[in-house]
């Protein structure tokens, strides 16, 4: 989870990623950020994110991102 926060911080600083629950819904992250995040997650956790996973509910908070990562690590 800390790793996820680190990645988010690296891509866009100055956001309260620990508490924000609407990263997509509140237009905090744009599509470029999302693609950068996916790239970092894939490298860091050795997972494969497919377009099926690119839905707002997976990207709205650090927690939901972490949940997605865990799911993909097991898949």
């Amino acid at each position: 989870m800390d790793k996820v926060l680190e990645i988010l911080e690296e891509i866009k600083s100055g956001v309260d990623f620990e508490n924000e629950k609407g990263l997509i819904d509140n237009d905090i992250l744009d599509s470029f950020d999302i693609l950068s995040i996916v790239g970092e997650l894939e490298d860091t956790f050795d997972i494969e994110v497919t377009p099926v996973d690119i839905v707002p509910s997976n990207f709205n908070s650090a927690e939901s991102l972490w949940a997605m990562v865990q799911r993909l690590m097991e898949a």
Partner: protein, 503 residues
């Protein structure tokens, strides 16, 4: 007219058989419909249906074995690639081999004979729809369909078979297979939408098309304002033809109680080229996004490339470059999808490059707003953006409609030769095949279309507000629409087909 009778016959049988057999009625009528265009063509439809059905089932079978994750993945990927190669290979063979041979001959001064291949109707649409399904099964979005006949209906559903919309299995399957009881309001809505589609096709598109055919067909005879007029006519023709066609398709599907995806959302009100592709041929755009753009953007090599660009150009620009590149690739594919010709490649590249440029220049734009104190929320700026986009789209039509890439460039140059607004008033537009009264009908038709579009753009649901009107008003509106078809419809000799059915 024959089509209308066919739809009515299908609807009649559909609603008298026991509801659980309804999907079989659709399948049978779909195959009759396709066979009517040529029995031989059924081979290609069956080829796509069977290979896609088979490979998807195979992927599913691999999923339920107890191999380890890695080897499962490798096997699934191989099956996927086989399925894609078979189908896109067939499409390429039929659609692009003559293009390749011609260019090969020209390049190496050889003289290989062209193949005599008839392009099966709607092949680009049903191939893309089927491959979307296969990739979705591979990604695990849903399980493969077990019943080959049910799957066959997904590929061949006759209203959408020829020109889309490109459908998704998870949105359509349950609609096909659930039971539909006859609902007069729904059927009325379907017919209403069909008539509105025919209005756009017959009153507007086919009429505007006369000028397009004349000017673009004999492009060396025309210059200046006449070409501008023809390009604008093409804007009317293409939209009326394709969007009107979609209204017919969606209306027919609605009669059967099936809601297909919308393909158009007032595209000429777009504020950017990106926005345009979110409103024009929407299902092709979302197909490209899901199955080309994301796989490229999420691929390992693009990830690597993104890291390099970030190092070289900084975080801001660096993260945009890979996306810009992916967009250009996507639109080259969009270009190729339209047909085997350099002009279509250029059409795709032009769109992709504009979008890439807009992405790259976004920070510069923001600075410019600040420096020049432009309020980007103002109404005037919004209208300016709409007009700018409309201009850019019209430039793209040069590539789309000209007989060749060379011709499109020649026409662009000719547009600036002896350009004068006098062309509009000196009667020379009346020599292009349309009489004065045709221009008046076109103007009125476009005005109706424009008003309808403005209402829709502002969130007015025209059908619902029409439903609330008294019966007399409603029927007057229908009669006006239906009557306008034979009275104002431009009936082409030899019958005008839909443009997109050729793709």
């Amino acid at each position: 007219m024959e089509f209308l009778l066919f739809v009515l016959a299908a609807a009649f049988v559909y609603y008298i058989v026991p509801a659980r057999y309804q999907w079989i009625v659709l399948l049978v009528f779909s195959y009759i419909f396709y066979a009517a265009a040529g029995v031989k063509l059924l081979f290609f439809l069956l080829f796509t249906t069977l290979t896609t059905y088979g490979t998807a089932r195979w992927i599913d079978a691999v999923n339920s074995t107890d191999e380890d994750r890695k080897s499962k993945k490798i096997r699934k990927r191989r099956i996927l690639i086989a399925g894609l190669l078979l189908n896109f290979g067939m499409l390429a063979l039929l659609k692009y081999s003559n293009f390749t041979i011609t260019n090969f001959n020209a390049l190496f001064h050889k003289n290989f004979a062209l193949l005599n291949l008839a392009l099966p109707l709607g092949i680009s649409f049903y191939t893309f729809q089927s491959m979307g399904y296969l990739i979705d099964v591979y990604w695990g979005r849903f399980r493969a369909e077990k019943n080959p006949f049910r799957f066959a209906l997904f590929v061949s559903f006759f209203p959408q078979l020829l020109q889309g919309p490109i459908g998704r299995f998870d949105k359509l399957a349950h609609q096909f297979f659930e039971e539909h009881s006859f609902d007069l309001i729904r059927v009325e809505h379907g017919l209403q939408r069909m008539m509105w589609g025919y209005f756009q096709k017959l009153v507007l598109a086919d009429r505007a098309g006369v000028i397009v055919t004349e000017v673009f067909g004999n492009y060396s005879d025309y210059h200046g304002m006449t070409i501008v007029a023809a390009v604008l006519m093409y804007s009317i023709q293409l939209y009326g033809d394709f969007s009107g066609g979609m209204d017919v398709v969606l209306g027919v599907a609605e009669i059967f109680g099936i809601t297909l995806d919308e393909n158009f959302r007032q595209p000429y009100f777009s504020i950017s080229i990106t926005d345009f592709w979110h409103r024009w041929h929407i299902t092709l755009g979302t197909w490209m996004k899901d199955y080309i753009f994301y796989p490229i953007s999420l691929s390992h090599w693009m990830n690597r490339f993104g890291k390099i660009t970030k190092k070289k150009f900084g975080k801001q620009t660096g993260r945009v470059i890979p996306v810009a590149l992916a967009n250009i690739i996507v639109f080259l594919v969009v270009g190729i999808w339209h047909g085997a010709a350099w002009k279509y490649l250029m059409y795709g590249f032009y769109n992709g490059a504009l979008i890439a440029l807009a992405n790259l220049l976004a920070p510069v734009n923001r600075r410019a707003f600040e420096v020049f104190h432009i309020d980007d929320k103002s109404r005037a700026w919004h209208v300016f953006r709409i007009l700018r986009t409309f201009l850019l789209v019209n430039i793209s039509w040069y590539f789309d409609i000209a007989v060749s890439l060379g011709a499109s460039f020649a026409m662009m140059r000719a547009t600036f030769r002896d350009f004068t607004f006098r062309t509009l008033t000196d009667g020379s537009l009346l020599n292009l095949g349309l009489a004065g009264k045709d221009f008046i009908i076109l103007a009125f038709g476009c005005a109706v279309l424009f008003i309808v579009s403005v209402l829709r753009e502002n969130g007015v649901n025209i059908r619902e507000s029409l439903d609330r009107k008294p019966l007399a008003v409603r029927w007057c509106a229908y009669f006006a629409l239906v009557l306008s078809l034979p009275v104002f419809g431009y009936i082409l000799l030899g019958g005008g087909g839909f443009i997109y059915a050729q793709f």
